[in-house]
């Protein structure tokens, strides 16, 4: 299916299928997750959610760019939380590339169709930016692995059936191993953490003598670092396109709601967002034509996170009080969430380190 047909067909479908979310408080993560499942299920049943994924995991084939377009149309209608909707973009490719094929064929459709939620257990209390220092251990025992340790900031863990988990099986970068773990396995304790935007989005997750079958290993022992870094091309193509579309919808909303919109501030937010989008299109196209994505996508990340914060800073300036006085204003939650844009997925500083080292070739840091 080509892009124009896909978009036209999808738009026509939306005119007869109203997936508008029921009213919910901006910080009600449970409601967002329920809506997310509903949207995925409907889009899966109608086939839209299956395009751009290979047949081996229940997809209908076609280029990945179709998924970016689906994300854009979902964002334009505000049907699902933009960050949550694109989680599949970073979970499913891992399964396709690293899970045993039967496992991927069995489980990926459950995720894509909204029957399940999955999460990503990478960060630990002692390992944030320095992810490769992680210490949650996995030790082999017969045809299983015994996992012990603690993860933190695991988004949506309390709503998830499964988790892509990074563990330590040997020293160094080459000693990290990934598993797909069922979260109802005995020994797993999930404790939601409240975030500054009033939501319970991410959790602490404790693993005590958790038995994970060897068949749930993603790749081979020691492939975990590659599993983690291979996600980036997806995060930074289809996900970013979706995010930029979401941000454009918020710029439109801002222009509509601001009583005295300041042309300089609106223009500057627009220019930043438009720049991120122009860059993102180049990246999506390159990816779609088989190009390899690497450290240059840190440029995309910096442009997008900067644009996001500038946009919500302008919203706060131009709709005075909405962020800090109006508890129920969506601007409040979205403004606060935008503060995390320079933290998750590799901090702003880490991105600049990558640009300096890998793109500018400035050699080692002090």
């Amino acid at each position: 299916m080509d892009i124009a047909d896909f978009r036209a067909g999808l738009r026509a479908w939306f005119t007869t299928h109203d997936l508008t979310p029921p009213p919910a408080a901006p910080a009600d993560v449970g409601a967002h997750v329920a809506q997310l499942s509903r949207v995925r299920r409907e889009l899966w049943d109608a086939g839209w959610m299956r395009y751009g994924w290979p047949e081996s995991v229940g997809g209908l084939g076609g280029p990945a760019v179709l998924r970016a377009i689906l994300g854009e149309e979902v964002a334009a209608r505000d049907l699902a939380d933009s960050g949550f909707f694109t989680l599949v973009e970073i979970l499913v490719p891992t399964m396709i590339d690293y899970a045993p094929p039967e496992l991927a064929a069995e489980l990926v459709p459950k995720l894509l169709s909204g029957a399940e939620q999955w999460c990503q257990g990478f960060s630990e209390p002692g390992s944030g930016s320095d992810l490769a220092s992680l210490s949650t251990r996995a030790v082999p025992q017969e045809d299983s692995w015994i996992v012990n340790g603690q993860k933190v900031w695991t988004s949506l863990a309390q709503y998830s059936q499964r988790c892509v988990l990074l563990t330590r099986t040997a020293p160094g970068h080459g000693g990290i191993t990934a598993f797909l773990v069922d979260l109802d396995t005995p020994g797993i304790t999930i404790r939601p953490l409240r975030t500054m935007d009033g939501a319970e989005e991410f959790c602490e997750v404790f693993y005590d003598d958790v038995v994970v079958p060897s068949s749930r290993m993603l790749g081979q022992p020691g492939d975990g670092w590659r599993v983690a870094t291979d996600i980036l091309p997806y995060e930074r193509s289809t996900c970013f396109w979706h995010r930029s579309s979401f941000l454009f919808s918020r710029l439109d909303r801002l222009v509509g709601e601001a009583e005295e919109p300041d042309a300089g501030a609106i223009g500057s937010a627009y220019l930043s967002l438009y720049t991120a989008r122009a860059r993102c299109r180049e990246t999506v196209r390159r990816f779609d034509t088989g190009g390899k994505l690497g450290p240059e996508t840190s440029v995309d990340k910096i442009l997008l996170q900067t644009a996001e914060q500038e946009l919500f800073d302008s919203a706060r300036d131009l709709i005075p009080g909405a962020v800090e006085l109006d508890d129920e204003s969506p601007w409040r939650q979205e403004y606060l969430y935008s503060r995390a844009a320079t933290i998750y997925g590799g901090t702003a500083e880490i991105q600049r380190n990558i640009v300096a080292r890998r793109l500018l070739d400035l050699g080692k840091e002090q």
Binding site: A263, Y270, T275, V299, E365, Q366
Partner: protein
Amino acid sequence: MDAEELNLLSQTLAKTMAATPSGPVLCSALNELGWREMLAETPDVAVPLVFRLLGETGAHAPLLADVTGTGTLPYAGGSWVSWSREDAEILPVRRTEAGTPLSPEALAAGRRAAGWWLLGTGRAMLELARAHALDRQQFGKPIASFQAVRHKLAETFVALDGASAVLSAAGTGELPALLAKAAAGRAALLASRHCQQVLAGIGFTSEHSLHIHVKRVLVLDGLLGSTRELTAEAGRLVIDSGAAPRLIDL
């Protein structure tokens, strides 16, 4: 033109710009290389290539008039300048009486060209600063090893790459050209500030070439509308139409 031909042409142009005195002499040399024919036949290739290379090589020639059809050009603040056919250290641009307003197409074409020039100038400054950072030692190590220096250069790189994407997307149309010039101006101004800081004392001298690029950016930014003015104009347009034009689609 295929990639190899383009590469060859690019090398020839860059060599000519580096070896020829700026101004009318370079203009004649570029005409001999077929600049005007290229501009007439393949402006989408000619303008980005030639103006970016002017910036990167630090040369100048009165080519903007070929693109806009006039050497009398609107400048920031509602003023006007004329671009004379002579050499000058920075650019032969002087204040003048108000001229005839440019057609929207000519204005857009001029903004795209000036945008590519700004981008090339930004890249030239980044290259100077990068080389200096690797070369210059303080506290017993290259200053390129200090994170504060690295991040300034990284931010410059990001801004220039972003502007390059906006320029590449500017095909035709008035708003895309306006945004392209604004993005390029914004990136080049940032590059001026960061690169000046990294080059420090030596970059403040008239012996070092940085100041030529810095001053050229100031002039190019003011030409055909400054970053600040263009950004506000884009903002007014968004406000008046009640939504931000996406312009770019997959």
